[in-house]
Structure formats: structure tokens, C-alpha cells
Point group: C2
Chain length 275, copies 2
């Protein structure tokens, strides 16, 4: 999906919500456990309940790999079920030497037909570039993650005094245009958002950490939104597990709707230029 | 596998060779393409030809994921075929927020029963710790990778003047004992080996980059070996693709044997203490 198509989707649906499809068997509503593939049934009902309220879906690979080959099949079915109406992100945090990253790109962009994949920056340019060889496909590079351990290396000042996550953003911006490159910036670091926007004024930011992890949507949006919106805000657990009964999908919808309604208002901050 | 068991295996087999099981369909000997699962057949014959010459096998996940759910099944079959006689490494370079890393740990240590998984350090402590919750299982943390892009971030001096890869090693050594923690150090950086050994005198190092990528086994071993051997040296392409005919496995064996014979001599440098 191109940047233009993504931006249009956002302003049509009045939403920059990304729903994280991270189902754990142990947390599923009990009545789903009778299905042959409970995770797929759960995903299907969550997707049906949220399609018009979000612009992106983001399955995290760990949740599928924990189930082995069967989980990988569930992921394939889920991705096919979403179809072309949404921006799809494989939250895989991959990255390897060049020829190997090329195979990851093949896995996510050809075999599974995702629009984007999250990539870890540690191995540098040739671990990232193979993903950029696919026109219309995106790299979403980890810059500042939402977890506590982000403090271990990401904030450490480099020789020029800038923290590592800014160096990652600056280097990566020399590898790719904003048409193919987003950054992961955790909602749990509101103080760093302005610095990220200065380093990457035009790039989309994928923002996890709203909801269960505690980030505040409004204040993040005020510092993160740009003229093209420029943000995808992910919520997983707060939507997926809003209910645990037979009405879990309806509860999930209510939660997603509350977020979408807030986003509808916040999008007015973008001064979107339709031309 | 415990560190003691691994060390004993190394000195029994007189080898610290790890064979990377990274088969690409397009590079397989043509006669294998008639099999129902050509990659598994290839792996099986490579394993049969090298079992007594190596102590570890390391499938890189990208090569399997590129084939989708089918590839994941090939990986499960390959891992089962190796059995308990070797140290098995899932070269996955994973890492995510705590609860998600826990699911990756489940995928590789429970579902697939690997002994070790490679992990990327960028997300810090809570992305690594869930893998350490499995006694007898190992984290192999990326420190200094073999690729050209390693120059982008890994060598950058931090505020104390040390390069990032040394900071990664020092921090990680505060998270885990050498009984569960190895480091990836590329054979393409011989000048950095001594610094790595100073920062991690007791840890095993997993060393990719010998063979196709150009690293020299003898000089690396001279600076990397410690009393317990402390190294696993990986070769993939140079062994897997030593031949491309019906005798590919025999050619692979000859290549592995040449490495093992060199390692047999080099192990005398360890002054191994059997007590």
C-alpha cells in the first residue's frame, strides 16, 4: 500500500488505529476453544467487529510461532481474511545479514503478502535494505520501544551526545524515503516524541503502548501528528480482551470505537491538505 | 544442554564446528527437487554426513519462513531428526517486549525444543530475560555481527568511549551467567576478538563468517579459545554447497572434515582441564 493510499484511508475512516492481533490461547473466551482453530476464529470475529474503525492490523509473530507450524497456518489464514482493505503489519522485529534479510522479506512480502514488517536496527544498513527492494512495501524500524529495557541501550548518548535512537532514525532516513520507512516509537516515552518528530518530520510513526501499557493518546497525538497524519497507534490487549464472554467481539468493538471517536477529533489537528 | 555437557561433547568429538542448516530451494542439487520436501531431504543427508564432525546445528529461521507454514514443518522435522546428540541453535535473532519474548522462548524452547536461540539486544533486558527462565537453555546475544552493516551502530563509541558492542556484552553479563549466555561475534572482525574476550572471558562465542564470508579459523581460534574451548564456529554455505550433484553430501562431509581436522589441532591450545 502506498503512502498516499494509507493517508487517504486514514482520513476516510477518520482513524489511525492499528489493532494488534496478538491472541494467546490461555486468554481466549472459553467458548472459542471448541473450534478447530480457536485463534483464527477469535481473529475473525475481532476483525469483523473492528474493520470500519481501524486502518491497520498487526499480528505479532511470536503469538503464532508459539503454536508451531499450526500457528503459522493460522497467521496465513488471518492475513488472507483481512484482505486488501487494511494496511497489514507483520510485527516480527527481524533483521539479519543481507541475503538472509532478503529471505525474511520474501517470507513477509511475497509468501504472506504483508504491507510492512517491523525490523530491528542493530545489524545496520544491509540488514534493512533488502526489505526496501519491494516497491509499495514498508520497513517499520525499531527506534524507541515501549518496554522498560529500552533504557538499556536506546537512550545511551553516542559520541555526539545524541541518544542511540536518534542516531538510528537519522541513519535510516539516509537509506529510505518516508514512502517506505516508518519508525516504532513507544507511547510510554511522551517526552521523546518531539525529538523523534524533529529527526523524522515526514515519516509515519507506529506507536505501541497505548492502552494496557499506559500511553495517553491525546498528548501523543498532539506532538506526533503531521499534515499526513503520520501516525499509526496500536492497541492490542485493551481491545482483544475487553470482554471474555460470548460478547467479546462486541466489547472489543466498543473499545475500538471509543478510540476511533477520539481519533476523529484529533485528526482535525492535521490540517490535512486534500489536494 | 548444560555448559558442561557441551564442553564434553566438544572435547570428545574434537570439534567446535556448528553447521548452519540454511538451505535455499534454488541452490539445492537438482535431483532432490523430486522429493516431497526437498529441503528436509537435503538437511537429512547433510546431517547424516556431518554428525560425527560437528557439535551443533544451526538452522536460520529466515530460510524456513520464506516457505511459509510448510517451511515451519520442515524445521520441526529437521529439529526432530537431529535429536539429542547435538547442541541445536535456532538462529532467529528475536527480541520483543517481555511477555512477547516469553512467547518466542516458548516457540523455540518448548514447541521446537532447541537448546539455544539467537537474540537481538536493541530492546534491552526485559526482551532477553524471558529466554533465561528455561534452565539448561541458552541465549546467544548479537554483539558484533559479521555483516558490513555492523559498522553502522555496533562500533559507535558510547559516552564512555567504548563501542556499543562492548556495552552490550558488559550489560548482558550482568543479566546471566556464562552457563546460559553466549555472544555472536563475527569472524570478519579479527581485530575485535581480543576486546570481546576481555569483556567476556568465560562465555562461549558463536562465530559466523568463516568460509563464504572470509574469516580465518586459525587466527580467530588463537584469540578466541579459552580453557573450556568457549567457541562454536559456524559454517553454512561452504559446507552445504560444496557440491551440487548426487554426491553433494559426500562433498559436504569432506569440507566439514577439513574444518574438524583443523579444529582437532587447535583444541590443543585450550589446555583443557578434565577435572
Amino acid at each position: 500500500m502506498t503512502r498516499k493510499a494509507l493517508t487517504e484511508l486514514i482520513f476516510e475512516r477518520r482513524s489511525y488505529l492499528c489493532v494488534g492481533l496478538d491472541a494467546e490461547i490461555s486468554k481466549l473466551p472459553p467458548h472459542l476453544l471448541h473450534y478447530e482453530d480457536p485463534v483464527f476464529e477469535f481473529n475473525k470475529q475481532i476483525i469483523d467487529a473492528t474493520r470500519d474503525l481501524c486502518v491497520a492490523y498487526k499480528p505479532n509473530l511470536a503469538f503464532y510461532e508459539a503454536l508451531g507450524a499450526q500457528g503459522w497456518q493460522t497467521l496465513e489464514k488471518t492475513q488472507a481474511y483481512i484482505g486488501q482493505s487494511h494496511f497489514t503489519i507483520a510485527d516480527a522485529k527481524r533483521g539479519d545479514i543481507g541475503n538472509t534479510s532478503g529471505l525474511y522479506a520474501k517470507a513477509f512480502f511475497e509468501t504472506l503478502n504483508f504491507d510492512a514488517v517491523t525490523v530491528a536496527p542493530y545489524m545496520g544498513s544491509d540488514s534493512v535494505l533488502p526489505f526496501l527492494a519491494y516497491p509499495g512495501k514498508w520497513v517499520i524500524l525499531l527506534a524507541l520501544t515501549s518496554n522498560k529495557g529500552s533504557g538499556d541501550f536506546q537512550f545511551t548518548p553516542q559520541e555526539d551526545g545524541q541518544p542511540l535512537f536518534i542516531k538510528v532514525i537519522e541513519k535510516a532516513c539516509s537509506w529510505a524515503l518516508p514512502e517506505q520507512l516508518m519508525f516504532v516509537v513507544g507511547a510510554t516515552h511522551p517526552d521523546a516524541f518531539a525529538a523523534v518528530r524533529r529527526a523524522a518530520p515526514s515519516n509515519f510513526l507506529l506507536v505501541p503502548g497505548v492502552g494496557a501499557q499506559g500511553g495517553d493518546l491525546e498528548s501523543l497525538s498532539r506532538s506526533g501528528l503531521n499534515a499526513d497524519c503520520g501516525m499509526l497507534v496500536n492497541a492490542s490487549r485493551s481491545i482483544l480482551y475487553a470482554g471474555n464472554g460470548e460478547d467479546f467481539a462486541e466489547k472489543a468493538r466498543q473499545e475500538a470505537l471509543a478510540i476511533q471517536q477520539q481519533m476523529d477529533k484529533l485528526l482535525d489537528l492535521c490540517q490535512f491538505n486534500n489536494s
